[in-house]
């Protein structure tokens, strides 16, 4: 498993753990503190998301390059570009679908609460990172099984 694959697995693990932590904290806010679901979700996701973003952006520092050894070449660059294209495509598709769904259900001339914007942006970000990590893992899995 090379550095790119390790980073991809790490990012997927961080997303999964942040999702579980968010759900658990939100549940605590709902059942223990009696907050309504929207507020509980808002407060419950803040710290797991901040921690998750810090961990995901620091992944290249956690998985450092080995000195004196080539660990990124033209094939890795090709896979990286594919992953970037697919992840941006997926996140924009998500944003478009969500906006259309909101417009269709609530009406295109209506306004939505501001906390929905944060949710939509967060969803797009998570989909972007997850799609990138999955594409990297799929491309390596398909192209070199004995690495």
């Amino acid at each position: 498993m090379n550095r790119q694959q390790k980073i991809a697995w790490f990012q997927l693990a961080v997303i999964a753990m942040a999702a579980i932590a968010s759900a658990a904290i939100s549940e605590i806010y709902v059942y223990k503190d009696g907050l309504n679901f929207s507020k509980a979700w808002w407060f419950g996701t803040v710290w797991p998301v901040i921690l998750g973003i810090i961990l995901m952006t620091s992944a290249p520092l956690l998985f450092r390059k080995k000195k004196g050894q080539v660990d990124f070449d033209e094939r890795d660059l090709t896979i990286d570009r594919w992953a970037a294209r697919i992840s941006y495509g997926m996140s924009y598709a998500f944003l478009f679908i969500i906006c259309m769904a909101i417009g269709t259900t609530s009406g295109f001339d209506r306004l939505i609460p501001t906390y929905w914007l944060a949710r939509i942006a967060l969803g797009g970000f998570i989909i972007m990172i997850a799609a990138q990590a999955l594409t990297i893992l799929l491309c390596y899995g398909r192209q070199a099984k004995h690495g």
């Binding site: 080539v70 070449d73 094939r75 390596y140 070199a144 690495g147």
Partner: protein, 81 residues
């Protein structure tokens, strides 16, 4: 059948594995170090799952000390394959 259709039915083959053994049983890692790529890329090329860029193809041919055509062949795909 026009020239474009003929070109579409070709595939890139290589003799990297055979040449490695002829070159004193060179390991994949040794070839990777000489060519400046990772071992995974050499494995993917040997399995025919990755087509290298022209500069990399030349570096690999140079590592074996043979012309490019001795390492890589762009051959038509037979219908049975």
């Amino acid at each position: 059948m026009d020239a474009r259709q003929n070109m579409d039915k070709c595939e890139l083959k290589n003799n990297i594995r055979r040449l490695r053994f002829e070159k004193g049983e060179m390991t994949q890692q040794q070839l990777a170090d000489i060519a400046g790529v990772t071992r995974q890329t050499i494995i993917a090329m040997e399995q025919g799952k990755y087509a290298p860029s022209l500069p990399l193809a030349f570096r690999i041919a140079r590592a074996f000390g043979v012309p490019l055509e001795s390492v890589f062949q762009y051959e038509p795909v037979h219908p049975s394959q």
